[in-house]
Amino acid sequence: MGKESKTIWDRLEDIPREVLYGILIVAFIIPMLFPFGFPVPISPEVQRWYDFIDKLPNGSAIMIDFGYSGGGEAELGPFAVAVYHHIFKRGGLKAIAMSTSNEGPLLFDKVIAEVNPSQYGKKYGVDYIHIGYIAGTETGMAGVGKDIRATTTTDYKGTPLDQCSIMNGINEAKDFSLLICYTTGGDQSEGWVRQWYTTYKTPYLCCPIAMMVPTMLPYQKAGQIVSLCSGAQSGQMELLVHVPGRGIKSADVITITHILCLALVVVGNIAYFGKKFSGGK
């Protein structure tokens, strides 16, 4: 049986996976070594997020859910870092974190190490805290919303909450002026709408990974979320906060790799139509 010779269209349609990944790796590395400095315009969602925190009254408490897993760190970590910078720079706010993901406490540590709150004169237990991983996702959200101390009496290091001055007068969802959620899971992003926004009308800022944005958009459109930003927009937040970090570095890379993706889609289509018009199937 003779082997049928491949046409140029066949070859274009069947570019080996290894070649595609090889090109992709090069597309990643070049802008990392030689940044192009593409402009990063601020989107209305990021601006709205920034403005909302900026306009919070002094003394406001913010609940921050580290509801993401390690896989989402690259995308959500830089956004969380930028927002913490904003909260600490702005001052007069209480940043109370919890985790609905069991990796959350570790990721909180990573974010705080990157932010270095001491540069703003902020102290753990006084200006910010993490009350631990609260299991049960929506059950946990509902529990914390109803009575924090009935759900947990210590922070994630085991220090009693009553020994942390930041927790004075903070008992339930009604004591919070804002809820922020970073998440890689729909249970968290939608759960907070159900358990806190709908029940207590707590204003909600949601930062999921980009692939979850289409699912969450209807909630923003219905006004249940003040602002919905994907972690991929962290570069914009860093620009607003004037603390350039990992987010802004990723902007060039993401642009170049997406152009590559578009180019490959075009190549695939050219191959498809080329094959069709040259009499192939």
């Binding site: 990643f28 991983y133 299991a135 947990t152 289409p214 459109k221 249940q224």
Partner: protein, 239 residues
């Protein structure tokens, strides 16, 4: 000491990253090692967090005098009866509690949060008395929403035939656009993840001493193990 531990951690994280990504070229022993390490570490972490949860949210209140928590412990233990041939049915009780609480909590607000609010927001969209672009966007949104809802009415097949079929066609195009948007966002997420790991390798690992030497060595080794055993120059395999 802490610094040394950090250096070891960075080296291990960087090498595991390279080994994990090597699967895109070919399956190999380094990938398998990294994969198994990840699964083991994730399982270990899950167990630690689970035990910590029991201690914090169950044991601590119990020894603090909140004896009602004995019910929770009993329910928790009953979950494990599923592994026993004769008493597996007992595990249904804690499962029923878990499912009941979960459904109860989500249903109490789900109708309002995911149904009524969405309908209200769509119904409240302005097509008149607003700027042309917003009016056009809103009109498209309303048409697509209604046609997609129509598309999923399966009870009366005739509703999708004849001239009414145009509604289903509009719905299909609308959904295709949504899937495309979703796919593009997925690509964005995945690329961000890859960037995160590359950034870690380039800016955290490579600046460390000897890392610049280790990188090519690691890559050469990877390529070597991807060569089929019988074609490797060394070690020679017996036929």
């Amino acid at each position: 000491m802490a610094d040394f531990a950090m250096v070891v951690q960075i080296w291990f994280a960087a090498l595991l990253t390279i080994w994990i990504y090597s699967i895109v070229f070919k399956d190999n022993v380094f990938f398998k090692f990294a994969e198994h390490t990840f699964v083991g570490a994730a399982a270990g972490h899950g167990i630690v967090m689970g035990v910590d949860n029991i201690l914090r949210y169950g044991w601590a209140p119990f020894i603090g005098g909140n004896y009602i928590y004995i019910v929770v412990f009993v329910l928790g233990l009953l979950l494990y009866t599923r592994y026993h041939g004769n008493y597996f049915w007992l595990s249904r009780f804690p499962l029923a509690v878990l499912v009941g609480v979960g459904i109860g909590l989500s249903v109490r607000t789900d109708v309002s949060a995911s149904f009524i609010a969405q309908i209200q927001s769509t119904a409240g969209m302005k097509v008149l008395g607003t700027d042309a672009w917003t009016a056009f966007s809103n009109l498209v949104f309303i048409i697509i929403t209604l046609s997609v809802v129509y598309y999923f009415i399966f009870t009366f097949p005739k509703m999708h035939g004849g001239r009414l079929g145009i509604i289903s066609t509009i719905a299909k195009y609308g959904m295709m656009a949504a899937f495309g948007y979703s796919f593009a966002n997925t690509v964005l997420s995945r690329f961000n993840m890859i960037f995160g790991r590359f950034d870690y390798i380039m800016n955290t690992w490579l600046p460390l001493p000897y890392a610049m030497i280790a990188l090519p060595v690691a890559l050469i080794l990877l390529i070597y193990v991807m060569i089929p055993a019988e074609r490797r120059p060394w070690p020679k395999t017996q036929k």
